[in-house]
């Protein structure tokens, strides 16, 4: 598995343009993205206002109006906060558990053989399938949700971290040894930095998993959260609430994913794949 195994396409080849001022250049650079976003809302508006024309499909304006109302009343922040808190706690705990395990799997063959049966069997059980057992074990409080997020995070981060360790070219290790690095220094100054882009890629994929899991878990057993908003919206026919929740999920996912992409670029920008 390589870090390129993500949902994004490679950037297109840049074509040289005539010289522009810095502000104009920035505008030209982000213009396609702005048009892309606008087209999303225009399509939504056209579909809702002209094609479907039903109360079951609110327009973007109605949805944002409802969202503003819920935000001003504080309701929206409670739901977003509940979901985000679970995601962040579970995701952080899951990554903290997974990174050392992944590093050890990649570094020690015996450890790999010992742990592989666990990772290879458990990772095919989707976290959503564990919701019922998590509720039975941990109740409908925070524990069950955090357990599920940890579960959704751990395997993908382990696999990517281990793949990162095995992808280090032997000459990088040997060079360090011939320059006098101790075993520990080889790990800290070569193994770890070379693996960081892979770890971040694993975390980025795990974050997407965490969103899926939290919504499903909250729909089944929770008092607050974006998943609860979806479920209540269905129970009480509050269509606009459902759409507000969906938009929030899309926006939160987008923002966290961008943050990870920035981190990966920062750490891995110099990490030319051919080297």
């Amino acid at each position: 598995m390589t870090p390129s195994k993500t949902a994004t396409l490679p950037p297109p080849i840049a074509i040289p343009r005539p010289a522009l001022g810095p502000i104009a250049r920035f505008l030209v650079a982000i213009l396609p993205s702005i048009i892309g976003f606008l087209s999303l809302f225009v399509a939504w508006h056209v579909a809702a206002a002209y094609l479907v024309q039903s109360v079951l499909f609110p327009t973007p304006l109605a949805t944002f109006g409802k969202g503003l109302e819920l935000a001003l009343s504080g309701q929206l922040w409670i739901q977003i906060g509940a979901s985000l808190k679970r995601i962040i706690l579970g995701f952080a705990a899951g990554s903290l558990i997974a990174i050392p395990i992944g590093l050890a799997i990649g570094s020690f063959r015996t450890f790999r053989k010992l742990v592989e049966p666990w990772t290879e069997c458990l990772r095919f059980i989707p976290s959503v399938a564990l919701i019922t057992i998590a509720v039975i074990w941990f109740g409908i409080g925070e524990e069950s949700k955090i357990f599920l997020i940890i579960y959704a995070t751990v395997f993908i981060v382990i696999l990517n971290t281990a793949a990162g360790v095995s992808a280090i070219t032997p000459n990088k290790i040997r060079a360090a040894q011939a320059l006098g690095a101790t075993r520990w220094q080889v790990f800290a100054f070569v193994g770890l930095p070379a693996t960081v882009p892979y770890i971040l890629t694993g975390m980025r994929l795990a974050m997407a998993n965490a969103f899926t899991t939290i919504v499903a878990a909250e729909m089944i057993a929770a008092n607050a959260g974006l998943g609860v908003m979806l479920w209540d919206g269905r129970m009480f026919m509050m269509i606009e609430e459902i759409f507000v929740s969906l938009v929030c999920l899309g926006a939160l996912g987008f923002i966290t994913d961008r943050l990870f992409r920035l981190a990966i670029l920062r750490f891995a920008g110099r990490f030319s794949p051919t080297m």
Partner: protein
């Protein structure tokens, strides 16, 4: 007194898939004195890199013994620093200067002292002022210079170089050979230099060892190159050595081509 000693060294690899063993180097005997620039020359696949890997301590011989300064080689050491064949041994997340200072940092040298030494080493390989660039921003020739500076800066007792200029274009290679010769004339450190290029071996080496064709090559002959100072391809002495070594290599390459065809 011999500084590097290879006594009847052989190395075979066990293939994990077929469980068969293959001989990479056999019966290799050689002594290298301190301050020598020893060039190991031979057709591709004859076992040159394997010899160097064992000298560096990354691999152990399956037969015979390797000693450095009388002590058996047990593992890698900063006394025997390596310049690798490709550029995949540089750290792409570090700048050129940070790559060069890696060994000093591992040894715990204070940063002010480090900076001064790194600056000097970059100057030695003709890369003054390029320290803040990342390897991906440098050309292949510059990356090899970074590797050489990274090794020189820790002043190893022995410098092991595996076809360090093999991937460079002819122009850059000539410049680098010239620079390396100058650096060696100035430092007189012990160098083991691997190449498959006769011209390069005679321009650089105090002695040139010619290996037999592989797999399972061994040392066939050693030629001493008695040309002092900077060397010149138009020097009649150079031409004589070239003809001598060329004659040896021609037989071995012919054998290796026949072996590949068979």
């Amino acid at each position: 007194m011999a500084f590097l000693e290879l006594k009847n060294v052989s190395k075979s690899f066990v293939s994990s898939r077929s469980r068969s063993t293959s001989l990479a180097v056999r019966d290799f005997d050689l002594e290298i004195a301190p301050g020598e620039f020893f060039c190991l020359l031979g057709p591709s696949g004859c076992g040159k890199s394997t010899v160097l890997t064992m000298l560096a301590g990354f691999e152990h011989p399956t037969g015979g013994e390797i000693r450095v300064n009388g002590q058996p080689v047990e593992g890698p050491s900063k006394d025997r620093c390596v310049v690798f064949q490709g550029d995949d041994s540089l750290y792409p997340w570090l700048t050129a200067a940070h790559n060069v200072e890696f060994g000093l940092r591992m040894a715990g040298m204070p940063s002010a002292e480090r900076r001064q030494k790194v600056e000097a080493a970059l100057g030695l390989v003709g890369l003054s002022g390029q320290g803040s660039k990342f390897p991906a921003e440098l050309s292949g020739g510059m990356r090899q210079r970074i590797q050489i500076a990274r090794a020189l800066v820790i002043q190893p007792k022995v410098l092991l170089m595996d076809e360090p200029f093999g991937a460079l274009d002819a122009q850059t290679r000539h410049v680098m050979q010239h620079e390396l010769r100058k650096i060696w004339l100035a430092t007189k450190s012990t160098v083991v230099f691997i190449t498959h290029d006769i011209d390069e071996a005679i321009l650089l080496g105090t002695r040139v060892g010619v290996m037999t064709a592989g797999p399972g090559g061994t040392l066939r002959d050693v030629v001493t190159i008695n040309i002092e100072g900077e060397r010149d391809r138009l020097d009649p002495a150079y031409t004589r050595y070239y003809a001598e070594v060329h004659g040896m290599i021609r037989d071995e390459v012919a054998k290796s081509v026949r072996a590949m065809a068979a």
